[in-house]
Every structure is written in C-alpha cells, then in structure tokens.
C-alpha cells in the first residue's frame, strides 16, 4: 500500500467506528421524543451488553482442550467472591488479575 492508500484505509476505520457510535444519537436526536420501544431497549440492553462483553473477553479461551479454561474460571470466581464480600471494585479487579497472573505464570 502507498501512504495515501494507508491513510484512506485508516480513514475508513475511523469512519466505520464513528458510524457505530454516532448513528443512534443522529436517528434519535435529543430534541424529539424517543420512541417507547427504543427507551425500553435503552433500559434492558446494558445488562445484556455487559453479559456479551464478559463472553467477548473469554472468546479465545479453549474450554474443550488444555486446561479447559480453569485459570479463567478460578480467577472469575475470585473476582466474584471478593466483590460480594467487600464490594470494592478495585480490590475485586486487582485480586482477580493477580490471581490469574500467578496461575498462568506459576501453576498452569
């Protein structure tokens, strides 16, 4: 690719990303009332999206081979346990991450 072609390619990535971010705000502008169905989606979608994001983070883990995702599952259990116990976001995240790093570097 020439520099010009590279710039166009990057421009397309920027354009595509911005499309996905701006379209809802353009279709449903702040001035007009948002349709009830969209408001409903706005309420129920986030919970579903957080579920999707958790699965997305685990998409490259092989659950059927190797360690069957054991380090991931153990560390997630640590995150959940810590969070239900102390409900301190940073503690839960740091604890789970340290646990995972120790597991993949020393155990598995």
């Amino acid at each position: 690719m020439t520099l010009g072609q590279q710039l166009i390619t990057i421009g397309m990535v920027v354009l595509g990303t911005m499309l996905t971010r701006f379209v809802p705000f353009i279709v449903f502008p702040a001035g007009k009332p948002t349709p009830k169905y969209i408001t409903y989606l706005g309420r129920v979608l986030p919970a579903a999206v957080f579920g999707l994001l958790v699965v997305y983070c685990l998409k490259d883990v092989s659950f059927l081979t190797g360690w069957h995702g054991l380090p991931e599952l153990i560390s997630i259990a640590v995150v959940v346990g810590l969070h239900l116990w102390k409900r301190q976001m940073l503690l839960s995240i740091a604890g789970g991450t340290v646990c995972y790093m120790l597991l993949v570097q020393l155990v598995f």
Partner: protein, 238 residues
C-alpha cells in the same frame, strides 16, 4: 467565569479518576501490546499513536493491522469495521438519555464511547454534587489518554522491553465481570443479564470467536423485543 468553573471540573476529575484506575492498568498494557504489534508488523510509532487517537476502539485497531498489510480495499475495511464495532450501536441507544444536556462535550463523549468508557459512565453512581457531564467527560478523556500513551510507548519501546506480564490482560475481563455483577446486584429483573450471557455464549459456540458478535446482537435484540410485553406487564421494567 473561570474561577467559578474551575472547582466544578476539579471535583468532577477527582470523582472520575478512581473509576478509571483499572483502565489505566488495562489500557497501558493492551495499548502497549498494540503498539508492539504494530512495531513488529513494520509500522513506525506514528501509526499506533495516530490510530489510537483517532479510532479509539481496541479490537478494530488490532484488526486494522491486517487490513493495512493486505490489499487496498476501502469498502471491505469499512464493512468489517462496522461489523466489529456494531455493539457500539447498543451503547448509543443506552446512553441517549445519559448524554443528554452535556452540551458540546456530548460530541466527545460519543466519539470516545469505547467499551470501558460506556461501562463506567453507565454504571457509576455519580455523587449529587458532581457535574455529570464533566464526570463522564473526564472518564472518557482519561481512558483515551491511557490508550494513546500505551499504544505510543509500545510503538517506540516495544522491541526493547521484556518482562513477564503474562496474564495482565485479564484486568479487562475482571473489570467486565465486576461491572456485570454490579448491574446484577442493582437490577430487579435479571432477564437482560441472563440473556446477554447465555445468548452470547451460545453464539460463540456456533459461530466461533471471530463471528459471534453480530449474531449474538441480533438474537439479543430479537428476544428482548419478544419479551417486552411480559416484562412490562410484570412492571419490572419500562
């Protein structure tokens, strides 16, 4: 005017920063990885720096490395980008109300609405005496700064530094697990959470890691639409 506005911003910044600390760790690391990846793929640090600045969407930036190395095909690049980032459409629909009334900052908030900025801005309990618009602005800006710094440093120093960071990327997984859990603890009805988790997992099994997001989104949308009436009848959700 400035003297009155200063404390408002400072207070919003102080409230926002702690929420972004996990992202500081995660983005410096992931951004660094991305910069190194660009570096070993033959691009100077200008590329990861400018792309992290203008695109600010991790997964597609990794994918863009292959697009840049392949044949020139702008339309395919555009289509692929929209597909990888399609989940942002859901974020936008969810933030229609929250970003309302943020003035000109709204443009930047939408521009910088990556997974992490969306998740924090949606779930954070912003104290009453803190300006919501500025809080969300600083969350987005800090995340953006972390990401660009990581990518640039990776692009510059990537090939020199070696230390064992195996598993550090789990910080992002841990963060989304916590955010999912927080949402779970707050909500009265778990339909959305369960559907998101189960339908995404099912689609991952069927379509594989590279192609499951769009089918999962379609399925989630479909089922949520189907159960709208029963949910509303029970009065758990609007």
């Amino acid at each position: 005017m400035k003297n009155i506005k200063e404390p408002v911003r400072l207070r919003a910044f102080k409230a926002a920063f702690p929420h972004t600390i996990p992202i500081l760790a995660g983005f410096l690391f992931l951004g660094f990885t991305y910069g190194v990846y660009m570096n070993v793929s033959g691009f100077s640090f200008w590329y990861p720096m400018l792309m992290s600045l203008t695109v600010f969407a991790g997964s597609v930036e990794f994918a863009a490395v292959n697009m840049l190395l392949g044949a020139f095909n702008p339309l395919q690049t555009l289509a692929l980008t929209v597909m990888i980032n399609a989940r942002h459409l859901f974020y936008g629909i969810s933030m229609l109300d929250k970003y309302r009334g943020c003035g000109i900052k709204k443009l930047y908030l939408i521009f910088g609405m990556c997974d992490e900025s969306f998740s924090i801005n949606y779930t954070a309990d912003i104290p009453k005496d803190v300006d919501r618009g500025w809080f969300m602005f600083f969350v987005t800006l800090l995340n953006h700064i972390y990401w660009v710094s990581g990518a640039t440093l990776g692009g510059i120093f990537g090939s020199f530094i070696h230390f064992n960071t195996d598993g550090l990327d789990f910080v992002m997984t841990a963060m989304f697990v916590v955010i999912f859990l927080e949402q779970w603890l707050k909500e009265k009805n778990h339909a959305g959470s369960v559907l998101g988790l189960v339908l995404s997992a099912v689609c991952l099994c069927i379509f594989g890691a590279d192609g499951f997001i769009v089918p999962a989104m379609v399925l989630i949308l479909l089922v949520l639409t189907l159960i709208r009436r029963p949910l509303q009848r029970r009065g758990d959700m609007i």
